[in-house]
Amino acid sequence: VRRNQKHGRWALLFLGPSLLGLIAFTLGPILYSLWAAMTNLSLQKAHPTRFTGFENFGKLMHDQEFHYTIANTIYFLVGAPFAILGSLILAVLLNRKWKGMTAFRALLYLPSFTSGVAIMILWKTLYSPEFGPINGFLRTIGIEGPKWLLATQNLLGMNVETLNFVPQQFGIGAREALILMGMWAAVGGGNMLLYLAALHNVPEELIEASQLDGAGRWASFKSVVWPQLAPTNFFILVMTLIAGLQGGFEQARVMTQGGPAGTTTTISYYIYRKAFEEFEIGYASAISWALFIVVFAATLTVWKFGNREESLA
């Protein structure tokens, strides 16, 4: 017992710095933000801080701008299934034993190594309506391209200042531009690697057995490979959902400043603006907790149904 106690003390000594870090830099800020969410805390010292209870959460219910940013965030998630599908197709293609495949894999993964800001600046130039190569190409085939990052239009016809739909707003605009860029970056990224690893783990004998039984490539993929990918699909789905709900900050900060007219302001960028541009730390904390609850609920839902699908598979 004495030896165990001695070991315990040593363990505590070595774990101490790490535990202190966890308390100071993770647990502490979480609790602080919870407290801040229930106050009118502001970086402007002219406002004395007072406890406001759930007032900030009540304000969220009536904040039309916040509702608009939720709609924007959900809109940006539209690209996620396509990006996941693209990653899967790419992984299947790269899972062949062809010459030079390693080089291809490295090439397709390259955007993930490159600085996000550099990529965004590059895409900003590509999207330039007058001088950008995308519209330049479209012009050569007789199409007048959209104004991309400058346009408020979208494929649902979502209005600019209110959450309703109007035909004048139907078209391609800044949201679609960011979705396309996001898909380009995601297709060859981490999801592709996860799928590649999962495909490597599918036992070859199962595929061979199915083919001996007369299954074609598609039937073999659908009945043998796809069920084996279920855990990876589930993981990617959950991670994409979390990243999507928390995303959009870098693009807004570097490319659009949340514009035009707020059409690319996502929840995370709105939190930043409220906290560090308008200095409403209390309200921004409340939005962060609301976001956490939404992400948690969405993840639980996916977990529940995803797990069921996985066990069925």
């Binding site: 970086l43 330039s128 400058l150 600019v160 200042e161 007219a261 707020g262 603006r273």
Partner: protein, 416 residues
């Protein structure tokens, strides 16, 4: 194993001590000045170092308001920092990081309100107290390329925006395919405050209790910008402007375009020269920007403030003394870093006389103590985005902006 862990633990503690020592050594490097990396800044710092023997360095990467405030509140802020306009000043003061300089400056014989241009007050004086020493003043005029604007066209200077629009139309040039090779007049939409002020409009009333953007003169200012693009078609469309903005570098796309002679005239200030100097063979002239309905050009510029928690307060005051003195103001004047803020040092000869005259007439912004400047800018920018996209008329947009700002002011006042 235990010995290895202990050794790692010891090394980590040693590294912490070394780092703490480095921070201490870093503090000995002297004043940290948050300002932009203007090409003339080096000479301005050298002037201080030579006259006081005290070291100073600039930190251009942390220049945004939110960075200055958050870092200062966290105890790692700069010693001195620049403030660019009324909304920034209100943010710094309300955040409690700007030191009230009123009494100390008076004791040192520096009278900001008496000795600087009235246009400097917006970024230096807040509710009657002095928080900054103005370090330059800028107000926009009309830049012209002498060889692209025939003298006979400007024998009678345009007095209204309509007249300037018509003049600019005569200066447009297109290639055989109809593509613009030379714009008549370059300007940028973010500069909307100049147009509002020059048309006699105001953002707030004098106490900052009411937003006046829905008043006819303010609407006229936004209408002028819209007309220059869509009616007279003499300025780049928002799409062209976006292409210009992606070019990057110090200064904006309009300066590059103007420097490359892609515009015959441009709305800009004297500080443009710091960038235009790199374009060889430019022959430039300037005339005053049109003003209507009793308006005036909008004054802006920089004022330098002291961080309330700076450990080098004495050196910081020495720096402010230097900024208000002859040597610094002459460097500003010679380097064309806008116009010296202290009236006595502003040149009144040649082309520079026009800039000094513009600075004299320029009016400061009014801020509201009831609403954060950043929030005001965001609301207005959103509405101007809609005007740019031709989705709203200037009148509709400014009425929406004023309504929202006034609602927020009313909420803040009732909460008080």
């Amino acid at each position: 194993m235990r010995t290895t862990f202990l050794a790692i633990f010891g090394i980590l503690i040693l590294l912490t001590l070394v780092r703490a020592n480095l921070v201490h050594a870093n503090q000995a490097l002297g004043l940290v000045w948050v300002t932009d990396d203007n090409p003339t800044r080096r000479g301005q710092m050298d002037g201080f170092i030579q006259s006081t023997g005290k070291p100073i360095r600039i930190d251009p990467t942390n220049g945004t308001v939110e960075k200055v405030i958050v870092q200062s509140l966290g105890g790692v802020g700069p010693d001195v920092f620049d403030c660019g306009d009324a909304s920034q000043l209100s943010a710094y003061v309300r955040a409690g990081i700007a030191l009230d300089l009123t009494d100390e400056l008076k004791a040192r014989g520096i009278d900001v309100e008496r000795d600087t241009f009235k246009g400097c007050m917006a970024q230096a004086v807040y509710q009657g107290r002095v928080y900054g020493v103005p370090t330059n003043i800028a107000a926009d005029g009309v830049w012209m390329h002498e060889e692209l604007v025939p003298k006979e066209l400007i024998r009678t200077k345009p007095r209204t925006w309509d007249e300037l629009g018509q003049l600019a139309q005569k200066l447009m040039k297109r290639d055989s395919r109809g593509r613009v090779t030379q714009y008549g007049l370059l300007f940028e939409w973010w500069n909307w405050k100049h147009f509002v002020a020059s048309c006699g409009g105001q953002v707030f009333d004098k106490n900052g209790e009411k937003c006046l953007l829905d008043q006819p003169n303010a609407i006229k200012g936004i209408q002028v910008m819209y007309d220059l693009v869509y009616k007279y078609k003499v300025a780049p469309s928002p799409a062209d402007e976006a292409s210009m903005a992606t070019q990057g570098g110090w200064g904006s796309g309009s300066i590059s375009y103007f420097g490359a002679r892609r515009g015959a005239m441009a709305i800009g200030a004297r500080w443009w020269l710091a960038s235009l100097n790199k374009y060889p063979g430019l022959r430039l002239d300037v005339m005053e920007s049109p003003v209507e309905n009793g308006g005036a050009p909008r004054a802006y510029g920089r004022a330098t403030m002291i961080n309330k928690d700076s450990p080098r307060r004495a050196e910081a005051f020495q720096f402010l003394e230097y900024l208000s003195g002859r040597r610094y103001n002459q460097i500003v004047d010679e380097g064309a870093d806008a116009t010296p803020a202290f009236r006595a040092y502003a040149t009144r000869e040649g082309t520079t006389a026009t800039w000094t005259s513009i600075a004299e007439k320029a009016a400061p912004d009014v801020s509201s103590p009831y609403i954060a400047g950043n929030l005001v800018d965001r609301i207005i920018t959103k509405q101007i985005d809609l005007v740019k996209a031709d989705s709203k008329t200037p009148a509709e947009a400014m009425k929406s902006a004023a309504a929202e700002i006034n609602r927020l002011i009313a909420e803040a006042r009732s909460a008080e």
